[in-house]
Amino acid sequence: MILRNLWRRKARSLLTMLGIGIGVAAVIALGAMAEGIAEGYAAFAGGSGADLLVTRSDAGDLTLSTVDEQVGERIRQLADVRNVSGVIFNMVSLESIPYFIIGGYDPEAVAIQHFKIIEGQPLAREREIILGRQAADNLKLSVDDTIKLYETSFRIVGIYETGQSFEDGGAIISLADAQAIFKKPRQVTFFEIQVRDPTQLDGVQARIEQLYDDLSVSKASDVGDEQVMVESMRYMAWGIGLIAVLIGGLGMMITMVMSVFEQTREIGVLRAVGWRKGRVLRLIMSQSLVLSALGGVLGVGIGFGLVWLINHTPAVSSFAPGVVRTPLLIQGMSVALVLGTVAGLYPAWRAAGLNPIEALRYDGGTGDRDESSWAQAFGMTFRNLLRRRARSLMTMGGIAIGVGLIVSLGAITEGVIQGFTDMTSQGGAELIAKQANVADMGYSVIEERIGYAIAAMPEVQDVSGIVWGFSMGKDAPFLFVFGMDPNGRAIQHFRTVEGERIRGRGEIMLGRAAADTLEKKVGDVIRLPGGVFRVTGIYETGVGYEEGGGVMALHDAQIAFEKPRQVSILQIKVRDPTQVEAVRARIEERYGGDVSVATTATFIEKSADIQNTKAMLGAVFVLAILVGGVVVTNTMVMAVMERTREIGTLRALGWRQSRVLWMILAESLLLSLIAAGLGILVGMGLTGGLQAIPGVGSFMSAVYTPQVIAQAIAVSLFLGAAGGLYPAWHASRLRPVEALRYE
C-alpha cells in the first residue's frame, strides 16, 4: 500500500527522491574528498613506516610547517631513535593542476623507499624528479621528459606507484632541490622518525616535546586527522551537505503534506472503517521513510558517481582524491532517514488528527476556501500562489536558503577581495608582486634582494616588502600578522588610535578588533611564535583584515614565520601613475621567473585563493540550483496536477496553450522572485550571524555589491524558469476533454 501510494504519484516521488538524493550525494562526495585529503596526508607522513612526525606546533597546516634541519641532528642522537628523515612537503601550481604536491626527500633516506619505482630509475641526484603514476598520466609525461617547477627544470628519471592516489598524483624531488625551490634553506617541513622499539614510542615523543616547546610530535597515523585543512574540509562537507539536505527536506515535507491533502478522503474512509489514529500516523510516516530511504540510496549512487568524476579530474584528484568509507555511507543514509522522519512527522500528525466526517466530505481541496479580500488587490498569479500558502512558503523557504547562501558567500568573498585589495594598496601602492606560480598566497616567498633590485629601477619610487602570516600561538588562537619595516612607507597607513606605532623589534601594534578579541591593551605583552611582544598601540584602518590582525617589525616576522631575508609580497609604488602597466610589464620581463606582478585592483581577483573560493561558490551555486530546481519543479508539478480540471476548463473556454503555459510559468517566476527577496534577507542574516562570532567576525567584512544581489536574483529567476518549464509545458499539453474528467 505504501509503495503503491508513492507509485501513484511517480513524478512527484521521483523528484522528492532526487531532492534528497542530491543532498546526500553532496555529503558523500565532499566527505569523500575530506577523507581523501586526510588519508593522503597520513600516507605521506607515515607511509614509509615512520612512527612519529615532528612539525611546528603553530603551523596550522602541514604544508606551512617549517623545522630547522639541526633539530633532526639532535633527535637522531636520542636513545631509541633508529632513523630520522627530513621531508619537504609542499605544493606548486601547474597550469592544469592548481595544487600539485611535491615531496622533497634525501635520496639516501629510508623514507624514499616507500615510493616504489615501476618504470625507470629511483631518484639519485639533484635536478631529477620521479612522478607518481597518476601525475604522469595527468600531465602526459614519461621517463626522460622534463618538467619545470618554479623556473627550475627537472628530468623525469622514474615513475612510482604507492597505491595512494594522493601520493600517486604528486612528485618527489631531492630534499636539496625542494629547499631551494620552496626557499627553505636548511629547513624541512617535518621529520619522520622511526623508533627502535615500538613500546618506547610515548617516551620518545615526550622527550622531543620537552626539548622543543614550539614543535609538536604526533603519531604518524593521526596526522591526517589533525590537519586544519582536513578539519575545514569536513566542516565544509557537512555545511554544504546540510544546506542541500535542508532544501531537499523542505521539498520532502511539501510532498508529504501534499500527499496527505490528496489522500484526505481516503484517510477519512480508513478512519471510518475503524483504523486507529496511530495506524494512520504509521501509514504516512512509512511513506515518508520509504521515500527518504529510496532518496538516500539514490544519493549514495549519485555520490559514487561524483567521486568517480572527482577522481577522473586531475585538477582535483591530485590534491583531494575521493575516498568513500563505510561510515560515510552510513552518515549519508542516516541523513536521509532523519530527514524522512522529520519531514513526515507534521503531515502524519496532521493526517492522524483529521476528523473522519470532514475528511470524507473533503472535495479534493482545490482551494475552495475563504480568501482574504486583500488578496483581490493582486493579480491571478499571486492569488494562485496564495491558495496554497503553506506549500508556497515552504518552496520559497527552500529557494531562499539556497539564495541566502549564495548571497552570504558572495558578499563575504567580495568582502575578502575588497579587504585584501585595500590591504595591498595601503599607502597608495599601484603594483603588487608575489612569488610566481605559487599555489596559495600563504606560500608566497620572495627574496628581499629582488625587492631591492626592483626598488633600484628608475621608474619605481618605492618598494615595501611585507611578510604575512597566521599565528596560531597559545595567546592568540588565530591572528593575522603583518611584518613591515617600522620606518617604511607601508606602515604609515596604520593609524594608531591608542598608544603609538612600533618603533623596532619586540613590539607589536594590534588592530582594534584583534585587541578586543584578545583582550589586550597598550602596554600588555603577547606571546606569539618568535617570542614575546609588547603592545605599543591599537590602530584602526577600516579594513576588516587589518583590524583583525597585528603589525610587527619585518625582522620579527621573518623570524616568526621562518622566512629569513624573505618577504611574502612586495608593494610597489611607481613614479608616474600613468605608466603603471608599462612598469608592470618591465618588472615581469626582468624578474618574471621569481615574481608575478599585478595591479592592486586585480591582484586579489587573479590570485589562486580567490579563484578557488570562487570555484567553491560555483559549486554551491550548482548545488543550490539543482536542489532548488527540483523543489520548484516538484511544487509546480503538484500545482498543475491538482488544477488539471481548472486547466481543462480554461482550454475549453478558448485559452490558448501559450496562455496556459505562461500562467504556470508566471506563478513559478513570481514564487522564485519573492523567494529571491527572502533569500537576500536570509543571506544578510547569515552573514550577520557569522560576523557575530568573536574572532571570526573581524575577518569577515561582507560587501553586498550589485553583482552579488543581481546574481542571487538571476539564480532565483533561473530556478523559477527551469523549475516551471516542465510543469507549464505539461499543463499546456493537457487535452481538455481528459483534463475536464480528471478527479
Binding site: 482545490t366 482551494g367 475552495d368 476556501r369 475563504d370 480568501e371 483581490q376 491571478m380 492569488r383 494562485n384 496564495l386 491558495r387 480540471r645 481548472e646 481543462g648 476548463t649 480554461l650 482550454r651 475549453a652 473556454l653 478558448g654 485559452w655 490558448r656 496553450q657 496562455r659 481538455p736 476533454v737 475536464l740
Partner: protein, 291 residues
Amino acid sequence: MNKRPIVVETHALIKIYGDGAEIHALDGVDLVILRGEFLTVMGPSGSGKSTLLNMIGALDKPTGGQVIVNGEDLATIRDVDRFRARTVGFVFQLHNLLPALTARENVEVPMHGQSIGEREMRERSEHLLELVGLPDRMRHLPSQLSGGQRQRVAVARALANDPAIILADEPTGSLDTQAGGEIVDLLEHINRNQGTTILIVTHDPKVARRTRRILTMRDGKIADDHRVESPVREDLRDLARSRLGSMLLNGAKDQVLAEIGLDQHDEETAIETLRLLLNRTLTDQDTHDAQ
C-alpha cells in the same frame, strides 16, 4: 420553420475510443440544430451524449464524419482555441469556476486573448452577471457563493463572447431540485430573450420536458428525435375546446363582450380584452378559493 439558419450540422459522425477493445462512442450521428433551438440530449450513461457535445464544442476530434458549426467545418478550422472562445459556450456539471478569481473575473476568462479592451470586458461581464441575476455578487469568490449562484456565474461565463450555441453538460447534475429548476428557467429565459441556441445534455426527464426538442441516444446512435409541443400552443388548444373558445371561434365576439359587460368594437383591443378576461377569471377563481 426551416427557414431559420442552421447552427450545427453533423454527418455520419463516428467516434471510436481505444485500440484493442474498441468502443464506438458515436456510431454515425446525423443531426441538424437550427438557430434559436432549445434542445436536450438524453440517454443512458455511455450512450454517447457527452461525446457528441465534446465533438460539437471542438474539445475532441471525431474518428469519422463531419461537424459543421456556424458554417465552419471543424476538421478544417485553423484556430480551435478561438472557435472555443467565440463560437461555443460551455456550462459543466461542476461549475468549474476558478477558485482564485471573483465572479466577474471568472466571467471575463473567455474574453482574455480575444483582443477585448479592459473597459469593455468589465462592462460586458457586469451586464452578463446582471442578466443571470447576480448584480450584487460581482466581487464574490466562488467559495462565497451557493451552488446555484456558482452555476449562474458559469452560465454568464458561457455567454461571455455571445456564442452561437451554449453546450451544457448536466448543468443541474450537482444541484438540488430547486436550484436546478432555476438554472433551467435561466437557460430558457436566455433562449427566449437572447435567441441563443442551447443544447443541454441531461439525465433528468423534468429538465428535458422544459425544452422543445428531445434527442434520445442509445449505443452511439440517435434513437429518437421528437419536438415537444410548445406549452402555449397546448393552452391555445385547451382554450379552443372551451365554451369561450367556441364563442370566439363562432365569431360571437359581441356576445362575449356583452356577456362580460363591455362594448368596445375596436379590434386592436381584442387581445387586451382577452387579457382582462383571463385576469377576471383568475380573480374570480381566487375569490372562490378563498371562500
